[in-house]
Symmetry: C2
Subunit: 233 residues, 2 copies
């Protein structure tokens, strides 16, 4: 149990809250602890996000598929992590991904209404969730405004930024090469040139149907980096 | 004063709150009411967003400029509206736009810490802000996942979706044509073909240095519409 509290304490949503307070909350609120076996599905794409779900042990693999092109982004979230906190409120609360246990894994979950009660119990929870939700908008706005080439690489970076988190691991795209070229709005020959350049920079490695992201941080900041390194035009 | 409360009541952030409660809050919390003359600057791009700012009378013109390409998106927010609520919390709280009074206009503003107190005073405010902040992430995720052509038109739609609100009016882009082509990652001849197609559909009209969006709703939903109208591949 103690290690579960320690896991929670490391989450941005619990930042600034001490172990005693967390233990008090876990006693008081109807948290459910669910155990999943390797390969078991935790939620399917399209499922309603009705609970705040914290990964407190093990790893979860997420698969996010595009609707019209055969491209799927796969990523792993290691504990501690939170699953899709930005799909719990708002207008479209259906999960954008399928989540599967990657090895044995433990999820602590709390119904939306109980999460609201938790947020109401302490301003620090309120700040944490407002910060977390705002960061998504800010990141994508800054990336778009920093675009300088409108290149396939910049578009790939923006897609990856929106669909992953900073602490995602094992991020890869599975695709039909034709479909990845379509998605990035480019010809196949330009796509290959782009991927080769990213490979030379140590950011990705790829085959004919899979792109593995080796340096997620650099790719997610690919567009913003230009902002720092180039003079304003 | 009454009409100011009525304006606030129409805002999504005050949804479900009655006039008495709003009047009580405006008495209790240190709201400031600021009047701006036509053309006066309300905030500059890069200014820290330290206050929740509600446009309660008149209109505000926002100008959002790209950093590396000479493209600026201009839009008008009519009262009631809220200025950049997703830049008040999170990591990058500097305004992405310059806001200027478009005719005489009134702003009711509340410091971030006082806004937090307001949100804490009633769960309905909490739901409203969590809904508002989540909708941004959800919209851009759905748009990206619905892309089917990776075309310049889809990219334009995504940029407009991120940088405007559903109720923005007079949305236009000012550019050097070369720079708009760069931003959308396309050749000038393809850009013109794209703009002509959008013009034929009644979505935009354009000149050599200005694109006026006539049907914002359709353009913002341009990518998502495909999701509804096309079979899943």
């Amino acid at each position: 149990m103690n290690s579960m509290y320690q896991q929670l304490m490391q989450l941005p949503l619990f930042q600034g809250v001490n172990a005693d307070k967390i233990s008090e909350l876990v006693e008081k609120l109807p948290f459910h602890f669910l155990k999943f076996r390797n390969g078991e599905q935790i939620m399917a794409a399209g499922d309603p996000c009705s609970h705040m779900r914290f990964v407190v042990s093990g790893k979860v693999r997420l698969e996010t598929s595009f609707t019209h092109v055969r491209v799927t982004l796969v990523q792993t979230l290691c504990s501690p992590h939170v699953l899709a906190p930005d799909f719990l409120f708002g207008r479209d609360t259906s999960s954008p991904f399928t989540a599967t246990a990657d090895g044995p894994c433990g999820i602590l979950q709390l119904r939306k209404s109980d999460y609201i009660q938790m947020v109401n119990s302490d301003k620090v929870f309120l700040f944490n969730i407002l910060n977390r939700l705002s960061m998504g908008s800010q990141g994508i706005t800054t990336s778009l405004l920093s675009m300088s080439q409108g290149s396939a690489a910049e578009r790939l970076a923006i897609i990856v930024e929106v669909l992953t988190t900073q602490s995602s691991t094992n991020v890869l795209l599975r695709y039909r090469q034709k479909d990845l070229a379509t998605l990035l709005g480019t010809q196949r020959v330009t796509l290959i040139a782009t991927l080769n350049r990213l490979r030379e920079q140590g950011i990705v490695e790829y085959t004919s149907n899979e792109l593995r992201i080796l340096d997620l941080r650099t790719l997610r900041n690919y567009v913003k980096r230009h902002q720092q390194s180039t003079e304003q035009s």
